[in-house]
Symmetry: C2
Subunit: 649 residues, 2 copies
């Protein structure tokens, strides 16, 4: 091959395009590679990228940063699939000019070099725009004119010549690194969403009565006022009767027990039906439309698991693991007993139809306006299945968002994100100290996963009552939401029990709720107003207004002199919004300390300044004049400062 | 896809088989991967490998070591190309048994589980050998027999059952990681060779007279006695006259000057001709045959560069970089001036014929019995060219060895080794302290390059007089050869000037020889016998006898209490040979200290022992009884101990 350049170690590169990286419009893609060639020639390189379906590749510079490392950045502006590749080539013009200058410095005679230069300039003129071509041709003539040696040398070392030449390249025999690298540019909602989870059956105003979608509908104004834009529902399908679970995960149910919504299917139908106790399909459709009016998306836990009573069990007996005698094999894996579930057998002969049917379930609800789907235990289905299903759904509904709920093993969380999940439930639950939080944020915003994983910081879920929250007091709840909502642009709460601090843990189980709504109907005071609801509404409004909070990867931690004070700055993609957050990690005690003014991050220049500091939570305004400033945070007020800093007039 | 297992991060993997890894017969390949699947099922995995041309894949186990990391090892036994891939699958038998035991421990009733077990045992019996199949079928029947519950449970938890089951697997729907991964298993000489370089023109017994191959032939017994098995010659072709270099790299030559052998070609011919002053082609052929009788391979510096007088210049004017007026563009890259060289233009339109012609040069000499080729500045030719050329030569001559001489930039050294160079000149020149040596050995024997790079530790070359050797005394030479020859199984010296300690450096140039043989004829005392020659012969004989020295990757450093004493153990692939080396890094002073007995490496068991310690250099024998033992090394004697340790009778 005539090309001499080697391109290797290209990043981001998810297994040579087997998986795509993720972005939202306005984000950039930073590409690095090692590029080198034989001999001592000067190389040039560029990134080529285009949106799928477009004809021409756009070009972004790739520049050397030493040790054969090259780096470059380009921006993606529209939703869709982008492709990118790298080109690198030996630049004979730049090589010539580099040597010319070295020889000129050494005082060598340059006749031959001028003649070569004349040649390369002429060649380069063929590849450049008309105006530049004209100038290169003129210079080429001067260089080729043996009678005006000094004029030619003076021209070659003139700033003007240097300037024009540095903008030109002679691109012959480029090496192309093209490994099908892809970016999926998704909806901005993939990176900015505020989730509220509730059990529809617990929404009745009458204690003990089964809630309905009509009851849910009545709660929409409240949820909107609290500032949530996504309402997550556990499975809404008919619930199995065989081996139905009782209260507190009991293996034996009482007659009145409502069972776990994750045990899907009975004689009323399966994954395309609604539990009649919640209402009709029409009720649900009305509810989804009503939510849309409140700018709330409905997110559905797909609950792709079956009870023994699911219609599939009769229609497709081969889709389930069975005993030799044909009985369903109910899997009780000690110490967990999912006795109300019969698992799909993804290794069955009819796996293709199983895949297709499950896709049709998701499409069914997407057709009804559900735009977010939650996979509660996605790691119990094959990775390849998810990759296929999500891609298929995205063909018709590119805006649909899938949230992965797998947090048990990091490699599994990562691979599900690679397979296409738009968001991933995060291990934020267990990050409480300054060190833990900073290290975790470093990992998810600077590590390799940042290319394809959008973490979602839930404070709690029906499955997880973090130890830190269990039996804790009000201030702890404020603190956890303060952290979740500012550290991460995607965040959420398992709502009613968070607002009203239901946090009694099950005595047998470290991080489970006592009297969990998973197995019974709960009654909540849906009119409650308290410090927590006030704080949540306030902070959610601030999140919405200040686009600095619409991204997770834009965080920079800054200095404080107190281990209990964590400080960071976030800046929006378009730089129009910057917020400085200072949080007191101690929910018990007032903490004071000095925080360093992050001048570079705030765009402050010079040594003398008078800064206007607006507190977004309280609306107060201070004036700061120093590099380090004093702050005081009392847990009984707000756990944090959210500051907007500008130069005072 | 029905398979559920993910295989990723497979190592070694050189760009999905774009490059091969290297081994010699008897070496192993350690493979690692991350393997996981959805759910909690038990996985199994294996490595499949085979020699090219063979029909069946051989299987080696791949086992989990925690955190989804798996590792396995297989051995390559014959020269040729091997292929390898990985398979992993969900093992329903193992998954069943894992859960069965957990439930049995918990005291659960196991009827259903026994029935499932009966099923999986029957399935597994179909995949196993007859004897095992018979037992599995028997057990299957017991498990299926509802009337003998306790007998079935007792069988299932019996050690015998456990033992048989652990040797079985039910392999359905495996995932295959097959990315064209290749191993080139080369000649053992790729990993064990002892090189001597001399300039044939400096071999005459008469001072000032041009040496010939006949003179070289007379030196073969001496070189054989010194214990070298490879004789490296700088280019032996006619030397250019245009811009011939004078003594000490002068840009102007005197009439009598012989020029640089790297400026190849004149009216007598090019790369397929011999400089007539060295003799005839017949003389050369006789010399090669004579060397073979002394078990010495001839290694030729390919010198693939041309003088302006090379026949190619007229025959293929387009192969060279030219000025616009057609004159050859002689490249003087400040501060280096290769004025006697005209470089090939590998980007020319006729590049394919240029590649073919250069291949024909190497084949020409390979046909004449040259089995080793040295690329003196291989990084001035495209990497793809080398990859192609070496592969082509290996088709006809798989034993031919290519040594790469590129040490300027690590990435270039690495890529040339990946492209196929069998050995790589190493940066050992500049490693002198214990820390430097240990770190460097760690890098080359434990780092990723170990998969494809065989370093060659030269003490010096015509181009490099390391500062440490320059103007140094005899002890320094002994020390450097002691290190080169024991740390690395491939080593070499630029002979005559090493033996007789010609080490005056050129005043203008940091690491160049004064009066370098590159530009003039030197006269050496080819009958010299001194401490250096005595030491070299002794150590080369020991290297040959003790196969522990035939590998570089088998080194383990051990403890001493003195920073000037470096200690390491080497063990041969077949474990039959183990040598413990202790070297005094201080060439000026006697050093004493305690060295820890590396019991594990030496295969010594127990706390009480009487060890017979044979010193291979002196032939002395000691008896050691302790975990730490005293050593004393005087630079005026040997710089090292080479110890063979065994249990005394």
């Amino acid at each position: 091959m005539r090309n001499r350049t080697i391109i290797t170690n290209v990043k981001p590169n998810l297994e040579d395009g087997r998986y795509y990286i993720k972005r939202i419009p306005g984000e950039n893609v930073k590409v690095t590679a090692r590029i080198f060639c034989d001999a001592e020639d000067v190389l040039r390189a560029c990134i080529l990228y285009k949106k799928e379906g477009e004809k021409n590749w756009e070009e972004a510079p790739l520049l050397p940063i030493g040790d054969d490392e090259w780096t470059g950045t380009f921006y993606v502006t529209a939703q869709g699939i982008y492709h990118y590749k790298i080109e690198a080539w030996v630049d004979n013009l730049a090589t010539w000019y580099d040597r010319f200058l070295k020889k000129q410095e050494k005082g060598q005679h340059l006749s031959n070099d001028l003649a070569m230069g004349a040649h390369w300039l002429k060649e380069t003129a063929k590849q450049t725009d008309k105006a530049t071509a004209k100038r290169l041709s003129e210079w080429s003539k001067i260089f080729a004119d043996n009678d005006h040696y000094h004029k030619a040398v003076d021209t070659a070392i003139s700033p003007e010549f240097k300037d024009v030449i540095s903008g030109c390249t002679l691109k012959n025999h480029p090496t192309t690194f093209d490994r099908n690298l892809k970016i999926r540019v998704g909806s901005p909602r993939e990176l900015f969403s505020t989730w509220y989870e509730l059990f529809p059956r617990s929404t009745s105003e009458v204690p003990g009565k089964h809630g309905t979608f009509k009851d849910c509908e009545k709660l929409l104004p409240r949820i909107a006022t609290l500032g949530f834009d996504t309402l997550l529902l556990p499975p809404i399908f008919p619930i199995g009767k065989t081996n139905r679970k009782g209260k507190n995960n009991s293996l034996v149910a009482e007659v009145a027990d409502v069972g776990s919504p994750w045990s899907v299917g009975n004689e009323d139908g399966g994954h395309k039906s609604i539990n009649p106790e919640l209402g009709s399909m029409a009720d649900f459709e009305k509810f989804v439309k009503s939510a849309a009016k409140h700018k709330i998306d409905i997110a559905l836990d797909m609950g792709l698991r079956c009870s023994a009573d699911h219609p599939y069990v009769k229609e497709h007996p081969d889709w389930f693991m069975r005993m030799p005698d044909g009985k369903l094999a109910i899997d009780e894996i000690p110490p967990l007993y999912y006795t109300d579930i019969v698992e799909f057998n993804f290794e069955c002969d009819d796996w293709e139809n199983l895949w297709k049917e499950l896709l049709s379930v998701v499409m069914f609800w997407a057709d009804k306006g559900v735009s977010m789907f939650y996979g509660s235990t996605p790691h119990y289905k094959p990775f390849d299945f998810w990759q296929w299903l999500i891609a298929e759904v995205h063909k018709k509904y590119p805006e649909v968002i899938f949230l992965s709920g797998a947090i048990t093993r990091q490699i599994v969380t990562e691979r599900l994100a690679m397979a296409g999940f738009s968001q991933s439930l995060s291990r934020f639950f267990w990050k409480t100290t300054k060190k833990e939080i900073q290290e975790y944020m470093q990992e998810i915003t600077q590590g390799e996963t940042k290319e394809y994983m959008h973490p979602n910081f839930f404070t709690n879920t029906p499955d997880i009552l973090p130890s830190y929250l269990a039996d804790a007091e009000e201030n702890v709840f404020l603190l956890r939401y303060a952290l979740a909502s500012t550290l991460s642009s995607n965040c959420g709460i398992y709502g009613p029990v968070f607002e009203i601090m239901k946090n009694e843990r099950h005595p047998d189980s470290k991080e489970r709720y006592l009297n969990s709504e998973k197995y019974e109907i709960a009654h909540h005071d849906w009119n409650a107003k308290n410090r927590i609801t006030e704080f949540i509404s306030r902070i959610n409004a601030i999140r919405k207004e200040n686009t600095a909070f619409h991204n997770t990867f834009n965080i920079a931690f800054t200095q404080t002199d107190n281990e209990q004070l964590i400080s960071f700055v976030k800046t929006s993609l378009d730089k129009s919004s910057t917020v400085w957050c200072i949080i007191n990690l101690d929910p018990q005690n007032r903490q004071t300390g000095y925080v360093e003014l992050p001048k570079e991050l705030l765009g402050i220049k010079g040594h003398w300044f008078n800064l206007k500091v607006e507190e977004l939570l309280t609306g107060e305004t201070y004036h700061w004049f120093s590099d380090w400033n004093f702050v005081e945070l009392k847990p009984e007020a707000y756990p944090m400062h959210l500051l907007k800093v500008s130069m005072a007039d």
